[in-house]
């Protein structure tokens, strides 16, 4: 049995508050900026306040984002929130809406997001502990495809039928009784005139309704083809060069000429915690082989990375990028990785493209995709009286999933996933910053339909946050992009310089590039990630930390069920 330092569970009070709150998360099915993980969850220290913010963006735009703020620490009085769009900035934002207090330290509100694209929600917290401001990036894109509910459909059809019958009656009457003078005997032809009126009326109504219906259809088609969010398509391929497998990721820009809505400003991709692209490769179907790579930019469209010693097979690829506007998206493809037979020495000598690349081959999940309620191999221990799980790390140390509230988790419920590292003797051991922060986690549903790359600060991109904070500081009402070539070059130069720096200096520079990253590592052997699993299923979690200069990846599987309510 492993012994480990336990944290008091006192800070879990908010979990209780949340049990009933996040059911709405459950229904989000469509792909979003991060595949399948709708919504933004942020955990952040702002002055004396420790905040946990959950934003559920609208799935159609314009629409309302529902916002919940938990003040975990600090005495807050009033919390105001307002949407700020990248395009129009601070000066173009409407006034704050005051969030409604709905419980102990809980505030809620709905905010209108009117423009598609990159935006943010700015929170103004005021109270005895001072004034603070927090900016959370939000992607406002249409992701929902809805059918009319049966009840509404039948109701409307019944009303429509009634209206048509009434209208035909009225038209018939208009041509017959309506023009018979009071007191005058109805003419003999009255009945025929009525029928003629009704016939002509019915034909006219049918034609009008047909035209109206085709208008509706064309609007729906325009919504599906133009308004609906689709990530930029990419084409991934692996070729063998110099005895190494090279992964190439190419942006597919075909159709950019025709569809302005789906164009991306590819010259203005920003590094997110020091890397232009975070690419995750996961082997199908067992999710056993995993790599977190940082491809080099060859030119605007092409990114390349040497593959580490992964087994051959079919892989899912998830690539995260952030644009200057703060728009962050996950691009997906599948790629066939050929088996490469090389000597052990050659494999050892092969250098990764990026010193921060990491990979791991573990046991397969051992269950079929979408399998539910089957036992898991990792429910092997209890930590501080709660179910936990442990994973062996490459250097002999262990990673422990702490405070897991139950063996089976609940979809839509907000969790803080906590992972601690213990050395080979089972003693807590400090971890070092990896890419400027305490750790990274990647979570994947067994079928690949839910993916998230998250950090201790939450489920959003810090580069997007930085981009929006700098935009808000700029008082111009309209944003003007700098020269594309100069911008790209300056980013490439900065990244090249970063790669040459020693680790300590690199982390300092990364911290400086993320001005709003104020999430101190509270316990130096532990890393925490706030997350709500969007829907039931079978999930694998890769947690990455750094110890003694080496990136270590722990693997955990968990079952997530629909809430009982």
């Amino acid at each position: 049995m492993i012994t480990i330092h336990c944290r008091k569970p006192g800070q879990l009070n908010w979990v209780v508050l949340l049990v009933s709150l996040f059911h709405s998360f459950v229904l989000s099915q469509m792909a979003y900026g991060h595949v399948g993980s709708s919504g933004v969850i942020v955990q952040k220290q702002a002055g004396k306040y420790q905040l946990l913010i959950s934003i559920k963006p609208p799935d159609v735009v314009p629409g309302t984002a529902s916002v919940t703020v938990f003040v975990e620490q600090g005495r807050a009085g009033i919390i105001g929130a307002r949407p700020i769009y990248f395009r129009s900035g601070d000066k173009g934002a409407p006034t704050h809406d005051i969030l409604t207090p709905t419980g102990t330290n809980r505030y809620e509100g709905d905010l209108w997001l009117m423009s598609s694209g990159s935006s943010s929600i700015e929170f103004d917290i005021d109270g005895p502990d001072g004034k603070q401001r927090v900016v959370v990036p939000v992607m406002a894109v249409a992701t929902a495809l809805r059918d009319m509910p049966e009840g509404t459909g039948f109701g409307l059809a019944a009303m429509g039928l009634l209206l048509v019958v009434m209208l035909v009656t009225i038209i018939g009457a208009s041509n017959a009784d309506g023009v018979v003078a009071p007191g005058q005997a109805p003419p003999a032809k009255l009945g025929r005139k009525r029928v003629v009126g009704m016939g002509i009326g019915l034909i006219a109504i049918t034609l009008i309704l047909a035209g109206w219906r085709s208008w509706w259809n064309s609007t729906a088609e325009d919504y599906r083809n133009v308004q609906l969010y689709r990530p930029t398509p990419i084409k991934a391929s692996v070729r063998i060069a110099d005895g190494q497998r090279q992964l190439t990721i190419r942006f597919d820009t075909s159709g950019y000429g025709a569809d302005r809505q789906k164009r991306r400003t590819l010259s203005y991709i920003l590094p997110d915690h020091g890397k232009l692209m975070h690419a995750f490769l996961v082997r199908m179907p067992g999710l056993d082989a995993f790599a977190h790579l940082h491809p080099n930019r060859l030119d605007t469209l092409n990114y390349e990375s040497a593959l580490p010693a992964l087994p051959g097979g079919k892989y899912m690829l998830f690539a995260d990028v952030v644009y200057r506007s703060g728009f962050a998206e996950t691009l997906t493809d599948t790629v066939e990785v050929p088996l490469l037979k090389i000597s052990a020495e050659a494999a050892a000598a092969a250098k990764p493209t990026d010193p921060d690349d990491s990979w791991l081959v573990a046991e397969p999940m051992g269950v079929k995709a979408n399998a539910v309620n089957v036992p898991h191999l990792d429910n092997d221990m209890v930590v501080c009286g709660k179910p936990g799980a442990s994973a062996k790390l490459a250097d002999g140390s262990s990673m422990i999933w702490m405070d897991k509230s139950a063996q089976i988790l609940e979809a839509g419920k907000l969790y803080t996933l906590k992972f601690a590292v213990a050395d080979a003797q089972g003693k807590a051991t400090p971890i070092e910053p990896y890419l400027g922060m305490g750790g990274h986690a990647a979570i994947l549903r067994s079928d690949g339909t839910v993916y998230i790359h998250l950090h201790p600060v939450g489920t959003y991109s810090m580069a997007a946050e930085g981009s929006l904070v700098s935009r808000i500081a700029d008082t111009a009402r309209t944003f003007h992009y700098p020269n594309a070539v100069h911008f790209r070059d300056s980013i490439d130069n900065w990244l090249a310089k970063l790669k040459t720096l020693p680790e300590v200096e690199k982390n300092r520079m990364l911290a400086a590039s993320m001005p709003v990253m104020s999430h101190p590592m509270k316990t130096n052997n532990m890393v925490e990630f706030p997350y709500a699993f969007p829907r039931a299923g079978h999930y694998r979690i890769w947690v990455q930390v750094k110890r003694n200069g080496q990136v270590l990846t722990g693997v955990f599987d968990t079952q997530v069920n629909d809430p009982l309510l």
């Binding site: 159609v60 129009s88 173009g92 009303m159 009434m166 309506g178 018979v180 003078a181 009071p182």
Partner: protein, 412 residues
């Protein structure tokens, strides 16, 4: 043979000399409802230009609902009381339908309009949840609402006409009260017709604003709708200058809410706020329709009801004459007036309203006070388009005359 007035629509006879002049309260109610709907709609448009965010119970919406409820309830009451009161004297002049119901034509139109407005609400709600909040006036659910509103307003017109038309062919001398009552009915009709014209124009305003006034599409849109409507109500009205009066009411009805509301404070509540306004933004200066309206009235005096005993001209020929005259006068008025509204600094004030600019439009836009290239056409394109518009106008006028003839005959 005419039956004695007051109309048997009334359930109780009005006191002679009362302010209602023997006209049923129901008639006043539906005209008032039409007025509410128009004012609510214009306020709603200005609300969206200035404040942006609204809810189900936003004040302009409430004004529209009041109109729908008043019209729907008074009309439904009229139908139900005729249906369920045995030996109701009104049944003699009502229309039986579906074997159960009795009602006046106007009440049937008004009830239909209120039901259509009611139907559009859940449909519109579903639409917003499915495709996002619409930022344009015309969407499929909004057309149902608009058709409902217009039918409700048309019910008011038909209700007044049934009473007014009883005087049309009366040769016997009339009492002073008859004269007063007819006078009021004529004006109630003009008011109801002017209010409907405001809604019609508002629906077309996205393609008939000052920016489009140098494009043939503007005149084609006008050609399809306006000759039809103006000639129909012109023929049906018993006023001496009906189209002039009705278009005058349209202009005033459009302008008064804008002139008044622009003096009230308003803060944008939705972003992006590219234009940080503090007052309500007025809607727009309407078409100067009273001038082509005057021309139509003058022509109708000459050709439609010639006093010198000449035979009335064929309606096809009349349609051609009215349509061409209307379109040429409209062009002669709106082309330079559109120019004035858009480009003249004298139009950028609280009277001509060209300073109006929604909160989400950039105030430094280069074409704010100029015709943008896409709003201009070559002379050849324009005149080809205008030629087509003359054809549309002729057809529209012909249908309008036909429709007007029917409206003259409405009796129940």
């Amino acid at each position: 043979m005419e039956s004695a007035f007051p109309s048997s629509f009334q359930s109780d006879r009005e006191q002679s000399g009362s302010w209602r002049l023997g006209i049923p309260t129901y008639i006043y109610a539906v005209v008032f409802a039409s007025f509410c709907v128009v004012m609510g709609l214009l306020w709603d448009i200005m609300w969206h230009m200035s404040i942006g965010r609204d809810g189900l119970l936003a004040p302009p919406h409430v004004v529209i609902y009041v109109g729908a409820v008043v019209s729907g309830l008074f009309s439904a009451y009229q139908i139900l009381s005729l249906t369920f009161t045995k030996n109701h004297p009104g049944r003699a002049t009502a229309i039986p339908f579906w074997g159960i119901f009795y009602g006046s034509l106007g009440a049937m139109f008004s009830v239909w309009g209120a039901l259509a407005m009611l139907t559009s609400a859940p449909f519109d709600d579903w639409w917003h949840n499915t495709y996002g909040l619409d930022v344009q006036i015309l969407t499929p659910p909004h057309t149902i609402l608009a058709v409902g509103i217009m039918t409700l307003q048309f019910g008011a017109i038909v209700g007044v006409l049934a009473l007014q038309n009883q005087y049309r062919n009366r040769l016997t001398s009339q009492t002073t009260e008859d004269v007063l009552r007819l006078g009021r009915l004529k004006w109630l009709f003009a008011l109801a017709a002017g209010l409907l014209l405001i809604i019609l124009y508002t629906l077309l305003s996205e393609s008939m604003g000052m920016r489009e006034s140098h494009q043939s599409g503007y005149y084609a849109t006008a050609a399809i709708i306006l000759p039809f409507y103006l000639l129909a109500v012109g023929r049906a009205s018993m006023l001496r200058w009906p189209i002039t009066t009705i278009t005058g009411i349209y202009i005033l009805g459009m302008l008064l809410p804008s002139w008044i509301l622009q003096n009230f404070p308003a803060t944008p509540r939705l972003g992006p706020v590219l234009n940080p306004i503090t007052q309500y933004q007025p809607f727009m200066f309407p078409l100067l329709l009273v001038i082509p309206g005057l021309a139509l009235d003058w022509l109708m005096h000459r050709f439609d009801a010639p006093l010198n005993g000449k035979r009335k001209l064929n309606d096809w020929l009349l349609a051609g004459i009215y349509a061409v005259a209307f379109m040429l006068v409209l062009l002669a008025v709106q082309w330079p007036f559109g120019d004035f509204l858009l480009t003249s600094p004298y139009a950028q004030n609280g009277v001509f309203l060209s300073y109006s600019w929604t909160y989400d439009s950039p105030p430094d836009w280069e074409y704010r006070y100029a015709f943008a290239p896409w709003n201009l056409q070559s002379a050849a394109d324009f005149w080809t388009g205008f030629g087509k518009a003359l054809l549309y106008a002729t057809l529209s006028a012909r249908v309008g005359l036909f429709w007007g003839n029917w409206m003259k005959r409405i009796a129940r």
